[in-house]
């Protein structure tokens, strides 16, 4: 397959890749995507003291005025929580802090003293949204983290905006959360699959999509340790602990990247219950066990011989 024109830049503590079907429109697409990412960063970054989400966290127990983009991102996070029965929950912020994920991942202490207690999430039902007055309230002691859905939503919004601005098909990957919009290449968008978006895909593990989104959640990247125990960033909200290591990676294709991301993250949390849940939802997915064994659901294609 002919390599499409593309560009890459760092964003959200990870990397963005932008590809277009029209080489002359790549610059326009990149500029548009950067603008969307900047807006999401200002609204949803947990590592910026001036972001809306940090304002809400600091003001826990009181109503806090927020912007329209944050309200939109929070609504998507609450929707993801509702449709996954709380397996993807924006109130896991305190749990992540307790695990040591309290700063940009690049600066997390790679080991530390053993953890003695954990912080189960209070649950998304405790989040109050007053859309009419543009404000949000969470209980004292609660902490929001939109990391599971905001990046994927940003990819969806960026792809749509860039396709509109550039007038061609656009692919946006934000840390491996992929969204496409506009007319696709003739053979579709070719996307490799791996535990880490920064590594080349495993031989034979790649899919082509023509619309929507694709996301992969993995328990083998963003890992650190406390007391010699390996931790990762996908937290089971019910326990406040990292999700069990049933799957090393789950890739899901969906109508949008935010849906794909919510499903992939929930699948990691659900462990052995995930394949049946994905199948019932009609979501094509590839689940990779710790030993490398693969389970596919819905219409996920078989691997192509390398």
């Amino acid at each position: 397959m002919e390599q499409l024109p593309h560009a890459a830049f760092p964003v959200f503590g990870t990397g963005a890749v932008i590809a277009t079907t029209d080489p002359s429109s790549l610059g326009t697409a990149v500029t548009t995507v950067r603008g969307v990412c900047d807006e999401f960063d200002a609204a949803c970054s947990g590592f910026r003291s001036d972001s809306d989400v940090e304002n809400v966290n600091r003001g826990a127990g009181t109503w806090v005025a927020v912007g329209a983009l944050f309200l939109s991102a929070l609504s998507e996070a609450l929707r993801a929580a509702a449709v996954t029965d709380g397996d993807v929950d924006p109130t896991v912020g305190r749990a992540l802090y307790r695990l040591g994920y309290d700063r940009d991942f690049a600066t997390i202490l790679r080991d530390g003293p053993p953890l003695r207690d954990f912080a189960p999430a209070p649950g998304y039902a405790c989040v109050q949204v007053d859309r009419r007055r543009g404000r949000v309230r969470i209980p004292t002691g609660a902490r929001l983290d939109l990391g599971a859905t905001a990046k994927a939503l940003a990819a969806d919004r960026a792809a749509a905006a860039a396709s509109c601005a550039a007038g061609c098909g656009v692919l946006v990957s934000l840390g491996g959360d992929v969204a496409v919009d506009g007319p696709p290449p003739a053979e579709g968008w070719d996307i490799g699959l791996s535990d880490s978006h920064a590594d080349p895909s495993s031989p034979g593990r790649a899919v082509r999509i023509r619309s929507g989104g694709l996301a992969t959640s993995s328990t083998t990247v963003r890992t650190w340790a406390r007391g010699g125990v390996r931790l990762h960033h996908i937290v089971d909200p019910s326990t406040g602990r990292p999700a069990p290591d049933v799957w090393r990676a789950v890739s899901v294709a969906a109508a949008t990247c935010v849906d794909a991301n919510a499903a992939a993250t929930a699948a990691v949390v659900r462990g052995e219950r995930a394949p049946g849940w994905l199948e019932d939802a009609g979501l094509p997915a590839m689940l990779v066990r710790r030993d490398g064994a693969v389970v596919r659901t819905a219409a996920w294609p078989a691997e192509v011989a390398a």
């Binding site: 390599q3 593309h6 590809a19 939109s72 609504s75 998507e76 609450l78 929580a81 509702a82 449709v83 996954t84 029965d85 709380g86 999430a121 649950g123 039902a125 405790c126 989040v127 109050q128 949204v129 007053d130 009419r132 990046k151 990957s173 840390g175 491996g176 992929v178 579709g188 968008w189 490799g192 699959l193 791996s194 880490s196 978006h197 920064a198 080349p200 895909s201 593990r205 790649a206 899919v207 082509r208 999509i209 023509r210 929507g212 989104g213 992969t216 328990t219 083998t220 990247v221 963003r222 909200p237 019910s238 294709a253 969906a254 109508a255 939802a281 996920w300 294609p301 078989a302 192509v304």
Partner: protein
Amino acid sequence: MASDPIATRDSGLRRVSRITRSAFAGALVLAGALSALAARELPGRTSPPAGNVTRSHRGTSLLPPSGSATAPGFQAPSGQGTAPAPLQPPVSAPVAGSGGGPVTSGGS
């Protein structure tokens, strides 16, 4: 000339009646105004009907009741009704690729 005691009594009763009606009307207006102020300053929660209470593995969680705009924990995106839209499969299923594109989907 001495006043008619009956006329004096009737006049007094009319005054008492006017004062009572005025006080009642004033109380109604004041109660309405205070209710409106309280509703504006303290947006309430809508208690969902029993049928909308679902069990999560963590305990009881509340899905938005029909017509609720301020149910705790969830507010439907505008224009999408009251129930959260389920996760949607792609319009067309993915097909096998070659991995020759510039992008890899993976954890980050």
